[in-house]
């Protein structure tokens, strides 16, 4: 993160000799001025993040307002339980992040290191679960609008009953895992235990992804095995659109599914009551929900990945013992960013997963 201008890497001009001078950049007068600048900087950066996401919230509000029926149908394809699990994982990572900040503030670099590692592992667990969710949807043909082709019962799988998409998504984490583990071993063997420690941390961090994937897959297989739950999840929703053809007049406004010309108002049918029927596909207009879903969660995931990079950086610096009472800014700044990513998820979760 470019915000965190901390130590003077260009190494010139240390004209200000404070006790802890090495982390004061040459153009600041005091640690406090440096800290305040960084802090204001990160807050402004968070403002830009909020506005960056705002565009997606506009899309969400608009389409939910004008097409509530699409949202009601679509959210049945999202698994509340996985979403809830991920929410708690992120909240926990926020807790450990806050503890890491506290440790840095009290100069406890060792504790800080541990908390940061836990935070990173939570982040990758989150991504692992997300990968399972995404790949499962892709198997079902649930894509953004133009590629959306959901057909009841059509479900692709690849080798070992795993989703091909999941395997593709896991290629990079696998490479990272091998790379980090291998490099850690190499560093260890060449007697650079200190460096090795960092790469071991990175290896553990990537393992979190696989933990998330395994957890997600096990859960998904469990509910697939439970055919009743599966049926409820997979079939009830599309039927709603077709069975519940409602007179437009009662709807009163324009919120009909325009795509296939079939009207449908947002009356509250309990979908369990809807008689099972056709095997037809879901209208593609439902894809708009998933366009928005993928944009929102995708952008959020990119922020998680960016956060992991920043976390790795301060993780390394904790190992080097950089933090002390008058110098802990970078941890604080990354922490704020991390909490913002969490904040956004706090809204995304009910908005996307809990529509009724």
């Amino acid at each position: 993160m470019a915000i965190a201008e901390t130590h003077d890497t260009h190494g010139e001009h240390h004209d200000d000799h404070h006790d802890h001078g090495e982390f004061i950049a040459h153009h600041f007068e005091s640690p406090e001025q440096q800290f305040d600048s960084g802090k204001l900087g990160i807050w402004i950066f968070l403002v830009t993040e909020v506005l960056f996401f705002s565009g997606l919230f506009v899309l969400y509000t608009l389409y939910r307002n004008y097409h509530p029926e699409i949202f009601q149908v679509a959210h049945h394809y999202l698994d509340k339980n996985l979403g809830c699990l991920n929410t708690i994982v992120l909240l926990f990572s926020s807790l450990t992040m806050a503890l890491a900040v506290r440790s840095a503030q009290t100069g406890k670099n060792k504790n800080c290191e541990t908390y940061l590692l836990i935070t990173m592992v939570c982040a990758t667990i989150f991504l692992g679960v997300k990968a399972v969710e995404y790949s499962h949807k892709w198997d079902l043909g649930i894509w953004p609008r133009s590629m959306f082709h959901y057909h009841e019962g059509v479900h692709e799988t690849g080798i070992f009953g795993l989703s091909n998409y999941l395997i593709k998504l896991s290629v990079i984490p696998t490479l990272l895992l091998v790379g980090f583990a291998g490099y850690a071993a190499f560093q260890y063997l060449t007697d650079k235990a200190n460096n090795a420690r960092f790469y071991i941390g990175m290896t553990i961090m990537v393992l979190g992804y696989f933990a998330g994937v395994v957890g997600g897959v096990v859960y998904q297989n469990a509910i697939a095995g439970d055919s009743h739950a599966h049926a409820a999840l997979q079939t009830a929703a599309p039927l709603m659109l077709h069975a519940a053809t409602i007179d437009k007049s009662s709807a009163g406004h324009d919120d009909h599914v325009h795509a296939d010309g079939e009207g449908d108002s947002h009356d509250d049918h309990d979908h369990a009551d809807v008689p099972a029927g056709s095997q037809e596909s879901v209208p593609d207009s439902v894809g708009i929900f998933f366009s928005i879903y993928y944009c929102m969660t995708g952008l959020h995931a990119i922020h998680i990945i960016g956060g992991i990079v920043a976390l790795a950086w301060i993780y390394r610096r904790s190992q080097l013992g950089h933090w002390r009472e008058d110098y802990f800014g970078p941890v604080d700044y990354v922490g704020l960013y991390w909490h913002l990513v969490d904040l956004i998820w706090i809204y995304l979760f009910p908005l996307l997963y809990l529509i009724d």
């Binding site: 640690p31 406090e32 800290f35 305040d36 802090k39 204001l40 807050w43 968070l46 403002v47 909020v50 506005l51 705002s54 506009v58 509000t61 608009l62 307002n65 004008y66 509340k80 809830c84 929410t87 708690i88 909240l91 926020s94 807790l95 992040m97 806050a98 503890l99 900040v101 506290r102 503030q105 009290t106 043909g141 590629m147 082709h149 057909h151 324009d254 009909h256 325009h258 795509a259 509250d268 596909s281 209208p283 593609d284 207009s285 009472e325 008058d326 604080d332 922490g335 909490h339 913002l340 969490d342 904040l343 706090i346 809204y347 979760f349 009910p350 908005l351 809990l354 529509i355 009724d356």
Partner: protein
């Protein structure tokens, strides 16, 4: 515990470590609220479902912001900066919403490409 964070060292004025029990307390509250929002989404609340979900989310956001992000102790100006972003988001959403309803009919009546699964291969 709470005192511990303040006594042992002479912290510079910009350093306010948060008490550990508070952090854990906030976390537990957050998990509780998450469970609450999932539970309320399962019961029939009709038109209240959305406001309730948003209220819970906002409460959670408040907890994260005030305690995890230290806003409670932060400089007023920093808080102002951050919260002002929400004002502009509201403006963006509000004015756009106010307008887009009006051309809905044209948007809806535009012939769409409804080729279902085949459309993947086209583009």
């Amino acid at each position: 515990m709470a005192d511990h964070s303040h006594d042992s060292h002479d912290h510079p004025s910009f350093n306010h470590p948060a008490p550990i029990p508070m952090l854990f307390g906030v976390f537990i509250a957050l998990v509780g609220l998450t469970v609450a929002t999932v539970v309320t989404s399962n019961i029939e609340l009709a038109q209240f479902a959305f406001p309730v979900a948003m209220a819970i989310a906002t409460l959670k956001a408040f907890l994260v912001g005030a305690f995890f992000m230290h806003m409670w102790w932060d400089k007023g100006f920093n808080i102002l900066v951050f919260l002002s972003s929400l004002l502009f988001v509201t403006l963006f959403i509000g004015m756009t919403m106010l307008d887009t309803g009006s051309n809905l009919e044209q948007v809806e009546s535009f012939p769409t490409t409804e080729t279902s699964s085949l459309s993947t291969t086209e583009y």
